[in-house]
Amino acid sequence: MDEIAPTTIEEASGTLRSLSSDSVPVRFLGGGTKSHWGGAAPEPDVVVRTTSLAGVVEHNAGDLTAVVLAGTPLIDAQKAFGAAGQMLAIDPPESTRATIGGAIATADSGPMRYRYGAPRDLVLGITAVMSDGAVARSGGKVIKNVAGYDLGKLFCGAWGTLGMIARVALRLHPRPPAMVTAVGRSEDPFAIQAAAGELAHGGLEPMAIDVAWSGGVGRVLARFGGAAAGGQARRAADVLSAVRTDVDIVDADEELWSRQRAGQRSETGVVVRLSVLPTEIAEVLRCADAAAGSVAGRAVGLVWVTLPPAAPLDAVAAVEELRSALAPRVCTVLDAPIEVRAKLDVWGAELDGRMDLMRRLKQQFDPAGICNPGIFMGGI
């Protein structure tokens, strides 16, 4: 397998143009931290690494925007923005290697998804290289802009199947100088759901509300970072007490949230990602508990269930059981041992009317069919 690491966008364009004219399938990789995700696909002939396309091209602190090359490690970009008291509100589990391009391509997110949105909500503009070598830009670098189609959103979560993300313009946010978290605990999944709901409907404006479940105990975490963070956390604690959870206020809360993010990954178990409604969270907690699993996720209904390590067939059966219990909600398998992945459809989605449209898009953007073939939903 050949590996190519273009150092400029022009180089990437030339590489893809020549590969597509020979119909050579490629796999795009950044840091490779999520390269095992996606559907089972044959080994590609060529890997195109984005890690040499790295660096913060512009950081317009006064405008709260930045332009960044796709191969930039997320952690490096955050350091640069942090120096100006700012942050990119994309906070998947920590990794030194994970790149901005990879996080955006897989629409990966963390606790800040609650308040600031998904990667698609923070990408202002995108430069992508299509399989025929065309370098296409859409959007811009201002926070408000409706000129042209929003291709940035299309590339967020497309897993590199429409082309290679080369450069993105991003919206940044002020980084709160101090953060405080109120935590409520209960063994009753419905109390956890109710607590999360109360906080979400109150006027407290937390920067994150998360839920967690493990070993028969659930938690709700509400994080505040404003000018009156401490007072807000105390008000949240009152709300949590009122719905009969045991309450704590944590001042040095970084470790707490780091663990929460880590709950979205597993080296030995099976991680399933779900999009549900806030009023369905208790049901997810109950199902996970029945499978001796754990849960980390957002009060807005994005949850990651980790099923414990098991023999491949048992693990597959556990995924299928979860899927049937929570149907029609879609359970996407992310981390899982290779033997498990080989035995199930990781996407697990109904191939509804959208599928035709998705195939037509793929055909338009990647007529040669060389960009990350086979890893996406429906075998795209």
Partner: protein, 482 residues
């Protein structure tokens, strides 16, 4: 338009809902941008989503192009009819289908107005994107245009609130994108559809996220003797990590017009007025509001008026919201521009607008969403003076160039539509436009849906996207591209 086709439309939605009388059709010849007028050969007013599907299918079978229209308040000619196409008017689809407050969702038909949505989920919740036309504009139009409003800097745009759509594609197929849940796997077709200016299909069922109403508001208007000082204040507020619910600026001419219309008490001798509104938890608002007042004073505000109560807050806003409507008091006619610049370039771009105003001999009033750098210069002109309307349009075009030069955009919320498609090449090259075309062709290979909008030059699907080639007619000097 063939009789057979019109008969089919009448069978689908009833005789009374198919308009072919030229007098009736005059009403639909323009959207909110009145200087373009095209009377369509027919307009149809379906009453249900299924009727929409059957109409679109009939158009597909007869290869009839069509344009969808909501309330017709758009300001870029996006709903401008076409001479040989059908106009599909969605204002009869105005049912609120479901309100699900525990999950902060509402499901509506496209003809429901923006304000009706906030009313339906109130008083505990609201729908944040609030274009000035919110009393009449339809949510279907908001989805098409990715509408904004005064509160975007904190709350975001339509695209951040649409979680699900049922759409009718060009061939009459109905597809559901997203749902009530967030971040579903698969291509983000929702993200591609919202803001596509009615060129990819018709949304017949719209699921939206709504937000809890803020606990409190604090509002002030500060006056400055220069745009630089006001601009610096905005930058300082943002640099302090404060995210106001709204920050709005008006210059002297705009203030004069608004003041004559509303008597809100803005001083007429001030160069710039800056409205800052904080919303959120009360302790947070109080703490931050004191900081905002201090920053206004540090930048030598000539006066700071703090709204003492809700009535005064409404009065301050009344003047701002009247800006477009009250321009008639200072000018016979005006052209509203909509561009975006990086906020930090505000003083430079305002100086450039002043220069342009002087060299064209036309006054320009400035109203803008200062938080997100969205400018709305109002170019004043007298339509009875021959050539002045064209001059105003040229001046407005130069403002776009200045905005793009500063790193901005040709439109922040009004859309490209028909009016601005010729400016698209200021921002996008051939490969970029080629990628847009790929998206359009995936949705509508026959290009029956709102043709002639957004893209600067028509291109067929299947045509190889590539560098622009001169047409033989251009080469012969018989026509030119603009």
């Amino acid at each position: 338009m063939k009789d057979r086709f019109l008969e089919e439309l009448r069978r689908i939605c009833g005789r009374a809902n198919v308009l072919t009388n030229p007098h009736q059709l005059e009403t639909y010849a323009s959207d909110g941008l009145l200087h373009y007028r095209v009377r369509p050969p027919a307009a149809v007013l379906p009453g249900t989503a299924d009727e929409v599907r059957r109409i679109v299918r009939a158009c597909f079978l007869e290869s009839v192009p069509w344009v969808a229209r909501g309330s017709g308040t758009g300001l870029s000619g996006g709903a401008l009819p076409i001479e040989d196409g059908l106009l599909i008017v969605l204002s009869r689809l105005r049912h609120i289908l479901e309100i699900d407050l525990p999950n902060q969702r509402i499901v509506v038909e496209p003809g429901v107005t923006n304000l009706e949505i906030s009313a339906a989920v109130g008083p505990t919740h609201f729908y944040p994107p609030d274009p000035s036309s919110q009393v009449v504009c339809s949510i279907g139009g908001n989805v098409a245009e990715n509408s904004g409003g005064a509160h975007c800097f904190k709350y975001g745009f339509t695209t951040n609130y649409v979680t699900g759509l049922e759409i009718v594609l060009a061939d009459g197929e109905v597809v559901t994108l997203g749902g009530k849940e967030l971040d579903l796997p698969g291509y983000d077709l929702l993200g591609a559809f919202v803001g596509s200016e009615g060129t990819l299909g018709i949304a017949t069922r719209i699921t939206l996220r709504v937000a809890p109403v803020p606990e409190s508001w604090r509002t002030l208007v500060a006056y400055f003797d220069s745009a630089d000082r006001a601009g610096q204040t905005v930058s300082d507020i943002v640099a302090a990590g404060i995210v106001p619910g709204a920050m709005e600026m008006m210059d002297r001419l705009a203030i004069r017009a608004c003041e004559e219309a509303t008597h809100a008490g803005y001083p007429l001798d001030t160069a710039v007025a800056l409205i800052v509104e904080l919303d959120g938890p009360a302790p947070e608002c109080d703490e931050r509001f004191d900081q905002v007042v201090a920053l206004c004073r540090r930048n030598e505000a000539t006066g700071v008026r703090v709204a003492a109560d809700e009535a005064e807050r409404q009065l301050i806003w009344k003047a701002r919201k009247a800006a477009f409507a009250s321009m008639g008091r200072v000018s016979k006619s005006y052209y509203v521009q909509d561009s975006v610049i990086p906020r930090t370039r505000l003083p430079d771009v305002l100086r450039r607008i002043d220069e342009l105003s002087e060299s064209y001999g036309l006054s320009v009033a400035n109203v803008f969403h200062a938080g997100d750098g969205n400018l709305h210069p109002l170019v004043c002109y007298d339509p009875t003076v021959p050539g002045e309307a064209e001059k105003a349009e040229r001046l407005a075009g130069e403002i776009l160039e200045a905005s793009v030069d500063a790193g901005g955009s040709i439109t922040g919320e009004h859309g490209v539509g028909f009016d601005k498609k010729r400016y698209m090449p200021l921002m996008f090259g051939d490969d970029d436009l080629g990628a847009f075309q790929r998206l359009r062709c995936a949705f509508d290979p026959q290009q029956l849906v709102n043709p002639g909008k957004v893209m600067p030059t028509p291109r067929l699907c299947g045509e190889v996207p590539g560098p622009y080639r001169e047409h033989p007619i251009e080469r012969a000097g018989l026509a030119e591209r603009f």
